[in-house]
């Protein structure tokens, strides 16, 4: 049994922490709320090799796994940065998978994406779950509304198609050079298609909502030329799980930052003659953040284990990590603000920026409710698969 980071993973995490510490990204998130352009972490990501993290070595990537990417995202969450990365990692994961099966279109774009010369993003398709047995995308207008997958009509022969449809609140789509889009064919088949950002009929409209640190956009396609990829429902579902896992890691980083900030303040700030962290009322809330952080980390490790050793557990593991991580980040951010009293409620303070990040993140990519539905669906499958004996012990 080994349930700990490997030495290389520690190095990757520490290097990410060091590299991101050089960006003034927390202040940047505040400035962006006031209209300044968001500080772009892409040069850092590219220099560190994160752009090729999930691409094989022969295509110029690092050939690493989901859990390694999660370590980088955790550090991004700590520093309220990482714009572009989740969409890019998700898209390259699918393209690498398609290329490995001999898909020429995917293979052609992988090297430039791995090198970070170009940036990709993904329109995320949600697999069927207990609350909705269709494949869907997050709809514009959001909330519990879900939209069908874009449709693909035959195009100029071969794998060329024309895609029509819309999706709301898509991570990292604005600024991407390439989009991977889930489509449903006339035959009812679900596939992924590759779209260039300058393709006719493609609209990508930035739709900032509350948190400027995480760019999201409305994506619309109107007879947009695209290239069908050799990637079907299994790949789409895999990318869904990977995005859940990356968002979970990002939220874990948010919670960790809040724990550090809250503990430091509780040791320093005095009231009634002693540090406020000595009072159980404060101490117990900080321990509750720690409990959330450690539970989330263990579920992230479960994702790492599932990805490497037990792929059939990836849907459950990634949905659990996402659900727990968003709930943790919500608790950690609001508790950290409360522990700071009045100063925590000001524009100048950092904690409210983390609160904004947590508030938006929990709504994206199916949201925390969607993650909960998937956890319930998957754990009941697991319970069914176990013997009747276990069910009745």
């Amino acid at each position: 049994m080994n349930f700990d980071l490997a030495d290389e993973q520690r190095l990757l995490r520490d290097a990410a922490r060091d590299a991101l510490a050089r960006l003034d990204s927390v202040a940047g998130a505040r400035d962006a709320l006031d209209g300044a352009p968001l500080l772009d972490p892409w040069p850092t990501a590219r220099a560190a090799g994160w752009t090729g993290l999930l691409v094989g070595e022969k295509d110029g990537g690092a050939g690493l796994d989901v859990f390694d990417a999660m370590l980088v995202l955790e550090e991004c969450g700590r520093r309220l940065t990482g714009a572009g990365l989740i969409g890019h990692l998700a898209a390259t994961r699918l393209l690498a998978s398609a290329a490995s099966r001999g898909d020429g279109g995917a293979a052609a774009v992988l090297p430039s994406l791995a090198a970070g010369d170009r940036c990709a993003a993904f329109v995320l398709a949600r697999p069927p779950a207990a609350d909705d047995m269709r494949w869907t995308v997050d709809a514009e207008g959001g909330g519990t509304r879900r939209a069908p997958l874009p449709t693909a009509q035959p195009g100029d022969g071969g794998d060329a198609v024309l895609v029509t449809g819309t999706a709301g609140y898509q991570l990292d789509a604005a600024g991407a050079d390439l989009l991977v889009v889930p489509v449903v064919l006339d035959t009812g088949e679900h596939r992924a298609a590759l779209v260039a950002a300058d393709a006719a009929g493609l609209g990508i409209e930035a739709t900032p909502r509350g948190d400027a640190s995480r760019p999201i956009a409305r994506v619309s396609l109107e007879g947009t030329p695209a290239l069908l990829l050799d990637a079907g429902p299994d790949d789409l579902a895999d990318v869904w799980d990977v995005v859940q896992a990356l968002l979970a890691a990002d939220a874990l980083g948010v919670s960790e930052a809040m724990l550090d900030m809250g503990v430091a303040y509780a040791k320093d700030r005095h009231a009634f003659g002693r540090p406020i962290g000595s009072y159980q009322a404060i101490k117990h809330q900080l321990v509750e953040i720690l409990r959330h952080v450690e539970a989330t980390r263990s579920l992230c490790y479960y994702v790492g284990y599932a990805a490497q050793e037990r792929p059939s557990d990836l849907p459950l593991a990634s949905a659990c990590a996402r659900f727990a991580a968003e709930e943790a980040a919500t608790y950690a951010t609001r508790t950290c603000i409360a522990i700071h009293g009045g100063i925590g409620t000001t524009w100048e303070h950092d904690a409210p920026l983390f609160w904004r990040r947590a508030q938006l993140s929990r709504l994206l990519a199916g949201g925390v409710t969607g993650a909960g539905d998937r956890v319930a669906t998957e754990i009941v499958k697991h319970a069914r698969a176990q013997t009747g004996a276990t069910a009745t012990t």
């Binding site: 503990v263 509780a266 754990i379 176990q386």
Partner: protein
């Protein structure tokens, strides 16, 4: 991240599995805890397991253990469970008291007690909590007074699991009330089957007699009953509490708190039609699965030589919370029928488990101070001689 056995562990697992296959016909059915009315079959089974060195797996070989690590211990437990066999009778002895005697005891004490403990021939209990000293364990008032040839024990202990089956107890008592509370304590190994000791069962909230109160009425014991040094009892208590934390590890699934068990009624009773119940099932599932994988993280650290730390207490807080939510959820799914049988027993026990092995509040204090480094609350009793503390409901700090 992997859960693979190393080649050595795989060989050990095969050996353990073969032994269990050959002997399973001798095994009594699995039981939860040591609350069975008739412990004899379990005692005999523990003796057979001990012969095969499957008890005290982490104990050094010179004390009759297998000299292996926490992973091998988990292998033994999981193989017994896989075969549908009961485990050892006396987890408190083998998991907590024995290791404490190994670290803190004299060679005479080790010689005398460890062998019969491993074989289940002599049962043990842990005599720490008192009516007026629970979270504030260092405030115990049971007195050990000097006599010509040792000590005389008088006082009362409570919430003592397994006292009705115990031949001996690990007892924390006050030897010196004239110094501050932590400094006047001594740990003893005391006989339970003597006329001066009275054990009365306490009926727990689920209805079963799960623990006891124990009265000591001038129990004479020799100098050789001191474990560690006179006045060194607090340090020995901390050693025992450290081992107690380790016994919880990886055990939640085995004692019935597995995510799959709580999801099973959804598979049996009806589909996942209700959105509200789905969200709550997700919360319970995440709580319990996080504990499973936290357990693997801690086992990995322990197998590399780490000492069981206070963060294990987070697991205890978490399992109680998740299981409580889970029981409420199951009851709403199934209806009142859920309050009878297994689910009812679990549900009716849970609020009590919140206080067992340390209240949630005292555990949060410990984690906050020792893991997060937060300052402690001011403790007015820390430097005052124990005799001068007069704030307990019983009046004086110490019986005269």
């Amino acid at each position: 991240m992997d859960l693979h056995d190393t080649p050595e562990q795989a060989a050990y697992r095969a050996e353990v599995r073969a032994w269990i296959e050959a002997h399973r016909h001798e095994a009594p059915p699995p039981t939860r805890g040591s609350h069975s009315a008739d412990p004899e079959p379990y005692r005999r089974w523990q003796a057979r397991l001990a012969e095969a060195r499957l008890v005290g797996v982490t104990w050094p070989e010179e004390y009759g253990g297998a000299g292996l690590g926490p992973i091998e211990q988990l292998i033994v437990r999981s193989e017994l469970r896989r075969a549908g066999c009961g485990g050892i009778l006396d987890n408190i002895a083998v998991g907590i008291i024995g290791p404490t005697i190994i670290v803190r005891g004299s060679s005479e004490q080790q010689q005398r007690y460890l062998g019969p403990m491993l074989r289940g021939e002599e049962g043990w209990c842990q005599l720490f909590s008192e009516p007026a000293a629970g979270s504030d364990l260092a405030g115990v008032r049971t007195r050990a007074r000097r006599t010509a040839d040792g000590f005389s024990i008088s006082g009362q202990k409570v919430w003592t699991t397994g006292a009705q089956h115990a031949d001996f107890g690990l007892l924390l008592a006050r030897t010196d009330p004239d110094v501050p509370k932590h400094q006047g304590l001594t740990m003893f190994l005391v006989p339970m089957r003597v006329p001066e000791v009275t054990v009365r069962p306490l009926r727990g909230m689920s209805g079963g007699a799960s623990f006891n109160e124990v009265f000591f009425d001038d129990v004479p014991i020799g100098e050789d009953a001191v474990l560690g040094a006179v006045s060194g009892g607090w340090g020995v208590a901390l050693t025992a509490l450290m081992f107690e934390r380790a016994t919880l590890l990886g055990a939640f699934d085995e004692i019935g708190f597995s995510a799959e068990r709580f999801a099973a009624p959804f598979a049996e009773y009806r589909e996942l039609a209700d959105a509200h119940l789905r969200q709550r099932l997700a919360q319970v599932t995440c709580g319990l699965l996080s504990l499973r994988y936290s357990g693997y993280r801690t086992l990995t650290a322990l197998a590399r030589g780490a000492v069981p730390g206070p963060e294990a207490a987070l697991g205890k807080i978490g399992v109680i919370e998740a299981a409580r939510q889970g029981c409420e959820l199951i009851a709403e799914l199934i209806g009142p029928d859920a309050l009878e049988g297994d689910w009812g027993e679990t549900a009716f026990n849970l609020p009590g488990l919140r206080s067992g092995g340390g209240t949630e509040e005292v555990l949060r204090n410990m984690v906050g101070e020792r893991v997060l480094g937060l300052p402690p609350e001011p403790r007015i009793d820390k430097r005052t001689p124990f005799r001068e503390l007069g704030r307990s409901p019983a009046g004086a700090g110490v019986p005269a």
